[in-house]
């Protein structure tokens, strides 16, 4: 029965809206997340949902998924008004959601996660494990996704987990498929794959909601765009009526002159970080490079190339087998984050939730963590100066939060990222390693972060940036290092670097 899921469902009429949300309102303590928002989806069309961080996109989607109850408004599916009280209701109505935060059970196999919502069963009611594995394999083959269905999900890199999530949305019949930032950690190749899948879905008459901060993707895949700002509905237009600039203007209410500002003039200074012959038991092999004060050193690599491992090894988080890391001439003790941090190196991690956020704690505690000792006199924390420092960063980065005491789990993803970046900037650093710094961040905030990185480098910081975004790599980096399978395969200067050369080195 599952094999037929990808054929056109004749029962879906193409002229009735698959979904009509009208006047949706939702408030959280201290925040109006949504205020009278409309969203209409037509069958077989891709509808992009855009807006700054905290605009309310995920909230709208969670209402659609039955996760949150709405405070006001109506929802009609296929022309029939309904209530979506629980995720189960939504699933039954044929709404499949790929959430922004990965929603898989890491202890389960990939195949089991695919069928989490409804296990195929045998006649006696027991779970048909063979069917599950076979169907998962068949599904993956169909969408050209090469992953072992028997692998433990938690062992997969983030990008593959995200693909598993997407595949999961296809395992059962759906009328509406919603994707909340599905590509935030996908490689370009996987994004292509995803688009093929989306086009297949629309051909079947399925309505797709697509949330992304990546303008190029939106222009490529979507038919219609709805823009939200501060929880309000700003515009809904066919994509053809938009330009890059008009879309950005709708989203943030202003124009962005230059996404990749370059104010730095001076050349790079002395060596701030030097890594020699670094190898780990798991992935890295003989990596050597230098980063200079005042430069942005970009790292590129395909998924699993080892950038995250490199980042964690340099800051002393993961053990290393051989190699020497020095900061400003002082050698680091291996596997010792504390001295690394005290010598002035910090890592903005790729996995916010697992390694960055203290979810239950307020914004203030989250932001001041790394710099806390600098607010302390004789072991006592001066909370006054701590708070004013935090407040100034909240203002500068435009972190959207009702107060400094808001538990950080209630902030939108982008705002959480800003808090974590601020965590490091509050503390004087010599080297900052940023791993996918703009993952899940809106254009406005992106340009702010880019400006910030530029300014930090201008102030003499060595910035090491691991990113999978080619434009941001080319736009910001002074030099670009490329990794493949745990080795450093090439280093280009800003002038030498082209997309082809970089990709060639990454495949090598």
């Amino acid at each position: 029965m599952h094999a037929e899921t990808l054929t056109r469902n004749e029962a879906i009429p193409l002229d009735v809206p698959a979904l009509a949300m009208r006047g949706i309102g939702k408030r959280f303590p201290g925040v109006v997340a949504l205020d009278g928002v409309d969203l209409t989806l037509m069958p077989g069309k891709v509808h992009a949902l855009m807006g700054e961080n905290g605009a309310g996109k995920s909230t709208l989607i969670k209402i659609l998924a039955g996760v949150y109850g709405k405070d006001s408004g109506t929802i009609a599916i296929g022309g029939v008004e309904t209530e979506l009280k629980t995720p189960r209701d939504a699933l039954k109505k044929g709404i499949k959601v790929v959430f922004q935060e990965i929603a898989l059970i890491s202890e389960f196999t990939v195949a089991e996660n695919i069928f989490l919502e409804e296990y195929p069963r045998r006649a006696d009611g027991s779970i048909a494990w063979k069917t599950i594995r076979a169907e998962a394999k068949a599904l993956f083959d169909r969408i050209g996704f090469a992953v072992d269905p028997a692998a433990r999900t938690g062992d997969l890199p983030v990008s593959q987990q995200q693909m598993v999530e997407i595949a999961r949305a296809l395992a059962h019949e759906a009328k509406i498929v919603v994707m909340d930032e599905p590509t935030s950690s996908l490689t370009p190749k996987e994004v292509e794959l995803l688009f093929v899948v989306i086009r297949r879905l629309t051909a079947l008459g399925i309505a797709v909601v697509y949330v992304s901060h990546k303008l190029d993707e939106v222009f490529e895949i979507s038919d219609t765009v709805t823009v939200l700002r501060d929880g309000r509905h700003i515009s809904t237009k066919p994509i053809g009526e938009h330009t890059h600039d008009s879309l950005i203007h709708d989203m943030i209410g202003r124009r962005i002159e230059n996404l990749f500002p370059r104010s730095r003039t001076g050349s790079a200074g002395k060596v701030a970080l030097s890594v020699e012959g670094l190898s780990t038991d798991t992935k890295l092999k003989d990596v050597s490079f230098e980063a200079r004060a005042g430069e942005v050193l970009g790292f590129f690599g395909l998924m699993g190339a080892g950038r995250t491992e490199l980042a964690k090894a340099i800051v002393g988080y993961d053990p290393i087998r051989t190699g020497r890391i020095t900061i400003d001439g002082t050698a680091l003790k291996p596997h010792d984050t504390r001295t690394a941090v005290s010598l002035g190196i910090g890592l903005l991690t790729e996995d916010r939730k697992l390694e960055g956020l203290m979810l239950e704690l307020p914004v203030q505690q989250n932001m001041s963590l790394a710099a806390l000792s600098s607010f302390a006199k004789a072991g006592f924390v001066d909370e006054g100066s701590e708070r004013s420092a935090v407040q100034s960063f909240v203002d500068r980065f435009r972190v959207k939060t009702p107060s400094l005491f808001q538990p950080i789990k209630n902030l939108s993803g982008g705002n959480q990222q800003k808090v974590l970046l601020a965590r490091w900037l509050m503390r004087g650093l010599k080297v900052i390693v940023v791993d996918e710094p703009t993952r899940g961040i809106d254009v406005g905030a992106k340009s702010e972060i880019f400006a910030l990185i530029d300014r930090l480098a201008g102030e003499g910081l060595a910035v090491i940036m691991m990113t999978s975004e080619m434009p941001e790599l080319l736009g910001l980096s002074d030099r670009i290092a490329v990794m493949a399978e745990g080795r450093l395969t090439a280093t280009f200067s800003r002038e030498e670097a082209t997309q082809e050369r970089i990709l060639n080195a990454a495949i090598a």
């Binding site: 059970i105 989490l116 494990w129 063979k130």
Partner: protein
């Protein structure tokens, strides 16, 4: 890809024998159990007799039955420490009803009814009202024990009718060899291991414990799953309590003091994580067996209680420490 129906916790049928061996902590436990048995077999000549081995199986079965339930609750991401008092409490309706009606079936029904009520209360408080389950069950642990003392006036209630069937339940042996409690324990273990692996309910328990938010998004009724786990745990503890009452021939107000520690230690030793979503019932059962054989063997060596305590403590640390170390290996 070769797929064998595996009963591992994660339900993963991993390729490659080496990976299976390293993934499945039960292998380590089996080795540990065999090591314990081998050691005592060499150290004491009365240890490795059919009579002694079956004795231990019978003795272990009470903790095993309750341990299966506690493990299920652990896997669902909650804890249940009320079992220590529950095993004593259920004996009261059991014995009282039997004394009044001379019917074992009615007595068992009464005991199960009380177990069910406790399970419902635990489950309601922990799953539906959202009170931390350690607090909830610590609370019911105290309340039940206090209730038993109040009700019995701190005296045991003797079994006046002395039904042979009741005596046999906890004291008899199949073919004069295998104690009935051991048979009951293994039957329950197999049933629930099957449920946890091959029924959707079991997988829901793992999912709910592994990541409740994800489970909710997948359309599971997280609260109801947890609620059910508490009921299962209480009912299984009731079965333990019934067998215990049969072995003690009465409702003993001090029965099961500290039983919850014993069960929790065994279950954790068996690799069932306190943080939920991880572990298997076979592991939990092996944990119980290891501790039971250890206790029996140390007794055979004529070691004083104090040495037994010290040695058991160090062995728990060594075993769990080794397990953690193994888990950290790539």
């Amino acid at each position: 890809m070769p797929q064998s129906p595996s009963l591992s916790a994660s339900g993963s049928a991993s390729p490659g024998l080496a990976r299976i061996l390293f993934r499945r902590s039960e292998i380590g436990l089996v080795v540990a159990l065999l090591a314990v048995i081998l050691f005592f077999a060499l150290a004491s000549d009365t240890f490795l007799t059919v009579r002694n081995l079956t004795n231990v199986l019978g003795q272990a079965s009470l903790a095993m039955i309750a341990g299966v339930g506690v493990a299920i609750v652990f896997i669902s991401g909650e804890v249940d420490v009320s079992v220590g008092s529950l095993v004593a409490a259920v004996a009261i309706p059991l014995i009282t009803v039997m004394n009044a009606t001379e019917s074992l079936a009615l007595g068992i029904a009464a005991a199960l009814a009380l177990g069910l009520c406790v399970g419902i209360v635990n489950g309601f408080l922990a799953a539906y009202l959202g009170i931390n389950s350690l607090i909830t069950t610590l609370g019911t642990l105290f309340i039940l024990r206090g209730g038993v003392y109040l009700y019995t006036g701190q005296k045991a209630i003797p079994d006046d009718v002395m039904l042979e069937s009741f005596f046999q339940l906890g004291n008899g042996r199949l073919f004069e060899v295998v104690p009935y409690p051991a048979l009951i324990a293994f039957a329950l273990l197999l049933v629930f291991a099957y449920v946890m692996r091959h029924r959707t309910f079991g997988r829901k328990v793992y999912a709910v414990g592994g990541n409740p938010e994800v489970a909710r998004l997948a359309g599971y009724d997280v609260k109801r799953v947890k609620f059910t786990c508490f009921i299962i745990s209480s009912l299984l503890a009731t079965v333990s309590g019934i067998l215990l009452a049969s072995r003690l021939g009465s409702a003993v107000h001090v029965a099961g003091l500290g039983f919850e520690f014993q069960v929790v230690a065994a279950v954790v030793l068996g690799g069932v994580s306190l943080s939920g979503g991880v572990g298997s019932l076979f592991g939990a059962a092996l944990g119980v067996l290891i501790l039971s054989f250890l206790s029996n063997g140390l007794g055979m060596l004529d070691l004083a209680t104090e040495w037994q305590l010290v040695i058991t403590g160090f062995i728990i640390i060594a075993a769990v420490g080794f397990d953690e170390w193994k888990r950290r290996q790539p």
